[in-house]
Symmetry: none
Subunit: 202 residues, 4 copies
DNA sequence: AATGAATGAGAGTTCATTCAT
DNA sequence: TATGAATGAACTCTCATTCAT
C-alpha cells in the first residue's frame, strides 16, 4: 500500500499508531517502553513510526494531550447537558464511582508518570498547566452558577473549592493506586461526596 | 586504623551515601540520575557505591522506605505528644502549611516517580502498601480516640475518613506540583482544613 | 498523450533531474544530501527518481562524469578556436580568473568529495583517470604545438608541464577553499601565470 | 585493569586509541568508518572509546589537528636547523620527493575528506584556516629572509609566492591521488622545483 | 576497602531502497 | 508511469554494572 493515500487514511493510521503506543505506555510506562516494543506491538517497522511522529517523546506528549483534551471535552459536554450545579457535581461523582479501579489505575499511572516527566521539562509545564486551568475554570463556572442559584453557601470561595474538588478526587485515586478493592473505593467516594457537598452548602 | 568501629562506621557511611544519592534523585529524578552523578556528587567511586548497595534500584528503594519510615516515625512522635485528637489533626495541617512549596514539590516528584515505579514491580507493592497502612492506622486510632472522646460525630466512619484525610492532602500537593504560589496553596489548605473538620464533627 | 516522444522526453527529464540533484549535492554534499532532499527539491517522488536512476550513487557518478565531460568539451572548443598555444594558455588563465570564488568553492568541494569517494571504489578510478588523461593530453598537444612553433623552449618536457599546469591551478583553488577573498585570489593567479609562462619559455 | 591508573598511562592509551582510529579512517574514510569498526580494530568496546572521546567527530578532529600540528612542528624544526632560505626550500622538495606515493595518497585522502567535511562546519573553518596560515607564515618568513639575503629577486611578492609554493605541491599530489607511479611523480616534482626556484630568483 | 577503566547490551533515530496502488 | 508509505539494517551514543589492581 502506498501511493496517493488519502489524508483521512493517514489520519486514521496515525490514530491507530497512537492507540497502539498508548497500550504499550499503559502497560510498561513511557521510559520502559522502547520504540521496538511499540513497533512490534503494532506489527510495523520502527521507520514507519518515525514517518508519523518525530520522536518517541512526541508520541507520548500527543497521547497525554489527547487524553486531557478528551477529559475537558467530556466535562464540557456534561456541563452543557446539565442544568443545576449540584446535579453536575453529582454526575461527576457518579462517573468517578463508575470507573473500574483497574482502568483508573492504568490511567493514573500514565498521568503521574507524565506529570513527573513534564515537571522536568519547562516547555511542557505551560501546556500542562493550561489543561489544569481549564478543568479548574469549568468547575469555577459551575460553582459560581450554583452559588448564584442559591444552591451553595453565599460565602463560598469558588476558586479554592475548585481546587479542593480535584484534589480530593486525584488524591483518593492515588491512595488506591497500588491496591485496594473497588467496593472500598466506592464507599470512600460516597463519604467524599458527602464531605464536599457539605462544604459547599454549609 | 579502624579495628572494631567498622560496623558503626559502615552504617554511618551508608547513611551518608544515601543522603547524597537522595539529593541527586530529588534534583533530577531516578531515571535521569546516573550512578556517575551519584558517585561524583559524593566524591567517591562507583565501586565504593556498589560496595554498599547492590544496585541503583536498591538505593532508590531504601531511600523511599527511609522516607516513609521517617514520616510514620514523626507522626508517631507527634501522636504521643499530643493529647486531643482534634489538636493532633490541627497540628498536622499546621505542618502541611509550614512546608515550603518548592520543597514539597521535590519530595512529591520523588514520591510520585517512586510510586509509578513501584506500581510495575509486584515485589514493591506489598511494602508500599504496608507503609500506607501504617499511616492510615495511625489516623484511624486518632479518629477513634477522638470519636470516643466526643470530639467527632458518633457515626463517623474512621477508616474512610482516614483515607480522605491523606487523599485530600496528597491531591492538593499534586495540583500544585507544576506551579502555583505558596500563598494560594496555604489559603486552600485552610479551606481544606475547614472542610475536613466539618466532615469529622458534623 | 505521448506516443513516440517518449525517448527524447525521458532523456530531457533525466537531464533535468540530474540538474536538480546537482544543486542539492553542491549545497550540502553527497553524503549529507538525502534522496528525500533531492525528490523534494525536484518536486517529484522518490519512486520517480528511482525510475530514472538505480541508486543515489548512480546519480552522483553521472553528475561527476557529466561535469568532467563538460570541462573537456569546453577545453576542446577553446582549443579549436584558438590559434597560438600561448594564447590558449592565456585564455585558460583568463577563465580561471573570471570564475567567482564562491562558485569555484562549491564545485571544488563537489569535486573533492567525489575524488575521495572514487578513491575507495576501484571501479571508479579508471574512468576518473581517463578524464584526467584527456585533460592532460589536450594540454600536451597544445604544448607540443607551441614548442614546434617556437613559442616555448626547445627542451620542454610537455608531459611534465601538463601536470604542472593543472596541479598549480587545482592547488591554488584548494588553498582558497575555506576562505580568502577574490582579489587576493586573482593577484596570486597573476603571479602563477607568470611563473608558468616563464617555466615554459625559459 | 583499572584503579588509580596514572595520567601517563591514560595519555598513552588515548594516543593508541587515536592511532587505531586513524588506521580505520585512512582505510575507509571518516564517514564509512563506524564506531564499531574502530572498536573492533582496537579490540576494545565502544564504551571504552566513548570514555576517552566524546564523539566520533571529536576523534576525527583531534586526528586532523594532530596531523597538522606535526607538519607545522616538523617544518619549524627544519627551519631552525637550516641556514639559507634556498637550502630550506630544497630540503622541503627533497622531503616531498622522499615520501612514497601510496603513503601520500592515504594522507591526502584523509586530508581532503577532512577539508570538505570542515568546509560545511563553520566552527572548524577557523581552526583549519589557522593551520594553513601557520604554514603560509612560515614560508613567508623564509622567503623574506631569502630576499633580504639576496637569494631571491628583489621584487618578489612573498605572500603570493608562499601560496604558490603550497598550491603547487598540493595540486600535484592531487593529480596523483587516484593513480600514477612514483617515478613519474618524482620527475614532475623535479620540474616543479625548477619552476618555483626560477620564479623566486628571476 | 576503594578505585575507575572497561564492558556490552540496547537505546532512539535515520535513510536508501522497494513495491502495492 | 508516478507515487510515497513502508521497510529494516545500520548508525551513534549511553550507562548500570564488574573486577583487576
Amino acid at each position: 500500500m502506498s501511493p496517493k493515500v488519502t489524508e483521512a487514511y493517514k489520519e486514521e493510521k496515525r490514530a491507530s499508531l497512537l492507540a497502539g503506543a498508548l497500550r504499550c505506555f499503559l502497560d510498561k510506562g513511557f521510559q520502559a517502553t522502547t520504540t521496538d516494543d511499540i513497533a512490534r506491538h503494532l506489527r510495523i517497522s520502527k521507520g514507519t513510526l518515525y514517518g508519523y511522529f518525530t520522536s518517541k517523546e512526541e508520541i507520548y506528549i500527543q497521547l497525554a494531550h489527547a487524553r486531557m483534551d478528551d477529559m475537558i471535552e467530556s466535562l464540557n459536554t456534561l456541563y452543557v447537558e446539565t442544568s443545576s450545579a449540584k446535579a453536575m457535581l453529582r454526575h461527576m461523582f457518579e462517573r468517578f464511582r463508575r470507573q473500574p479501579l483497574d482502568e483508573l489505575r492504568k490511567w493514573l499511572t500514565f498521568h503521574l508518570e507524565f506529570t513527573t516527566y513534564a515537571s522536568r521539562r519547562p516547555e511542557l509545564i505551560a501546556s500542562n498547566r493550561a489543561y489544569l486551568n481549564k478543568a479548574l475554570n469549568l468547575l469555577n463556572r459551575i460553582l459560581t452558577s450554583g452559588k448564584q442559584a442559591g444552591e451553595f453557601r453565599a460565602d463560598l470561595d469558588e476558586s479554592s473549592a475548585a481546587y479542593l474538588f480535584w484534589a480530593v478526587r486525584d488524591g483518593l485515586a492515588l491512595s488506591f493506586l497500588l491496591d485496594g478493592d473497588d467496593n472500598e473505593y466506592r464507599r470512600i467516594l460516597d463519604d467524599m461526596e458527602d464531605m464536599v457537598m457539605k462544604h459547599l452548602t454549609a
